[in-house]
């Protein structure tokens, strides 16, 4: 993270400086709270009884503690397990494939002795300046690539990203060319050089890009919404979304018909599902945060 800049001088602080620090800590404290509170409410709401939510609304700490929402989810666990399976599958497959693609391509466009490296870079970069937009893409994927209701629709479109390519290129460019040349002189072929010399030096770059890719796949619901019809192919985030739609529709119907829905804990169920879907991210977050900071920092320096 950000390292401490100048050590504060040991001179007497003036009043205005003190005021500045007070404002500084209070403001950052408030923003931090604003970023944290929704998560706390989410978790506490998921452990609150339906009755308490309906008559008292959400609160910071569960007023009537219960695990009934989680019990309900895991009473018929197949749906959740299936959605977890889909999410894990597309995340692992997409990340692995995307990582290989990104690394190889970044290596190629970094090779100064490759004549078409600028043309190739432009070929990729142009897609960030101009694209067909939602309609063309949708029609083309469905009518000509036949991706409707296929797992490919969840994996292929997100596999390659120009932003990640540029970040990876920065990592590759830190490898001295002399190393690659000497490997070649020693008789290693291009692939051998790449896999046994270059790749091991790109570990931190691969961790960074791999995590970005994995986060994108894990959080994706958009492609599922456009292309997936069968419920058993829903990834976790989209399953959560469709559950929200259903419970909100149910609540609307019930309130119009003046029926109480207290038998089914719809509110806490939604929150419990949200916790189940976000849990893995929050759990690994402390360990992977530094890679994201690195990636964001490199990405902001235009290449």
């Amino acid at each position: 993270m950000a390292t401490a800049k100048a050590k504060p001088m040991k001179i007497k602080n003036s009043t205005s400086t003190t005021v500045f620090y007070i404002i500084c800590y209070v403001l950052i404290g408030l923003i931090t709270l604003a970023c944290l509170l929704p998560f706390i409410m989410l978790v506490s709401g998921s452990f609150t009884s339906e009755h308490a939510i309906r008559f008292g609304g959400y609160s910071l700490l569960p007023r009537e503690f219960t695990t009934e929402a989680y019990q309900l989810i895991f009473k018929t666990p197949m749906a959740v397990i299936k959605a977890y399976g889909v999410s894990i599958f597309i995340t692992v497959a997409g990340t692995a494939a995307g990582l290989i693609l990104t690394t190889m391509t970044a290596y190629v466009i970094s090779r100064k002795d490759f004549k078409y490296r600028n043309a190739l870079s432009f070929f990729f970069y142009f897609t960030t300046l101009f694209n067909g937009g939602m309609v063309c893409t949708y029609i083309f994927y469905i009518q000509y690539l036949h991706l409707k209701d296929s797992y490919w629709a969840l994996i292929l479109p997100a596999m390659f990203n120009v932003f990640y390519l540029l970040i990876m290129r920065t990592f590759v460019s830190s490898i001295p060319m002399a190393l690659i040349e000497s490997a070649k002189i020693d008789g290693a072929g291009e692939f051998r050089t790449f896999f046994s010399i270059v790749l091991p030096l790109l570990k931190s770059g691969m961790a960074t890009i791999g995590l970005f890719l994995a986060l994108g796949y894990w959080n994706d619901w958009y492609n599922a919404m456009l292309y997936i019809n069968s419920e058993d192919k829903y990834p976790l985030q989209y399953m959560l979304y469709s559950l929200l739609q259903k419970t909100q529709a149910m609540a609307a119907i019930a309130s119009q018909a003046n029926v109480q829905l207290t038998d089914i804990p719809t509110n806490s169920l939604k929150l419990a599902m949200a916790v189940v879907a976000t849990g893995p991210i929050i759990l690994v977050y402390p360990f992977v945060q530094k890679y994201f900071v690195k990636g964001v920092t490199i990405g902001s320096v235009k290449g």
Partner: protein, 315 residues
């Protein structure tokens, strides 16, 4: 003619020479080239749907041409202007608020002395970037829904009548703006913090010794040091001024018809018409107009910037 043929032939022989020399590199780049070709370039051919009376059974290329009728219909119905206006205004509002907040956070966090506070607050502020917009949608609903929302609970405990925010279009630009900043301020401040910590700490020390107080240090050292980053970020965003953040709008507003006039951007409009299969031609026209204008804007902005200061040009 002959001359052209000769240069063409030369290009081709150069190319085959390069392929022979760097065969392995061509093979390495091939999968990504193929993927981008099929998933990004080939769909562009579908742009012609904007000039056609699209019928699913005839396909993109078989449908009949109908000139500019789709565009005329889009703008005569008023929809085109409304969604363009909304997209631009939302992007401007979000751009200014989220970048300002991120700069403020970055300056404050780097000025802090407590390492723990610094680290913890930065980690937590970065957290919203990692969750999907679906979860953000859950938060929004939990706060604003009429029966059980936190807002109405707070109002009730203060003795005020509950409000139905979902029937008040006027407040939604601000709600969207707040959640956009909430989700991105951590991410953006990481960029600015990196720019600030890149400054040689001796400069700050020298300034302190010369008697510059904290405000002077921020004004004359910190802000100039992040200026190039701010400009780059603004330019990048201006290039996307006609692209609405579909995931954000869709999850926060949803299919709430009452709010469409205030919250419909080009992307949500296109998506809705696509799912309802209503007038694909007009939808494609909106999408075409967005893509082309975006491209023109980014090229113009970049050219102008190049003239003013080459350093700031994006490419």
């Amino acid at each position: 003619m002959e001359r052209k043929g000769v240069t063409m032939g030369k290009h081709l022989s150069n190319f085959t020479k390069e392929v022979k020399k760097n065969k392995a590199l061509f093979i390495m780049a091939a999968p990504a080239v193929l993927l981008v070709l099929v998933f990004a370039y080939l769909p562009m051919s579908g742009l012609i749907v904007a000039f056609k009376n699209y019928r699913y059974d005839l396909g993109v290329f078989g449908s009949d041409w109908n000139g500019l009728a789709n565009f005329a219909y889009l703008f005569q119905s008023g929809t085109g202007w409304l969604i363009t206006k909304n997209t631009i205004l939302y992007n401007l509002l979000n751009l200014v608020t989220s970048q300002l907040l991120a700069v403020l956070i970055a300056i404050f966090i780097t000025e802090m002395n407590s390492k723990i506070f610094k680290k913890v607050s930065q980690s937590i502020i970065f957290l919203p970037y990692f969750i999907s917009w679906v979860i953000v949608g859950v938060f929004v609903y939990n706060i604003f829904n009429y029966e059980t929302g936190i807002l109405n609970n707070l109002l009730a405990s203060a003795g005020v009548d509950p409000v139905n925010v979902y029937s008040m279009p006027g407040v939604w630009p601000w709600i969207i703006c707040v959640f956009n900043s909430w989700k991105w301020c951590g991410y953006n401040s990481v960029i600015y913090i990196a720019a600030i910590t890149g400054v040689d700490s001796q400069i700050y020390e020298a300034a302190s010794i010369d008697g510059a107080n904290i405000f002077k240090r921020i004004r004359y050292i910190t802000i100039p040091s992040i200026k190039p980053t701010v400009v780059t970020m603004l330019l990048l965003q201006v290039g996307r001024i006609l692209r609405g953040d579909f995931e954000m709008f869709y999850q926060i507003v949803g299919n709430n018809g009452q709010l469409f006039d205030a919250t419909d951007v080009i992307d949500t409009y296109v998506f809705r018409s696509l799912l309802q299969n209503s007038n694909i031609g007009m939808t494609a026209a909106a999408s075409f107009y967005q893509s082309v204008l975006c491209f023109v804007i980014i090229m113009v902005v970049n050219t102008v910037i190049k003239h003013i200061d080459e350093e700031y040009a994006l490419f």
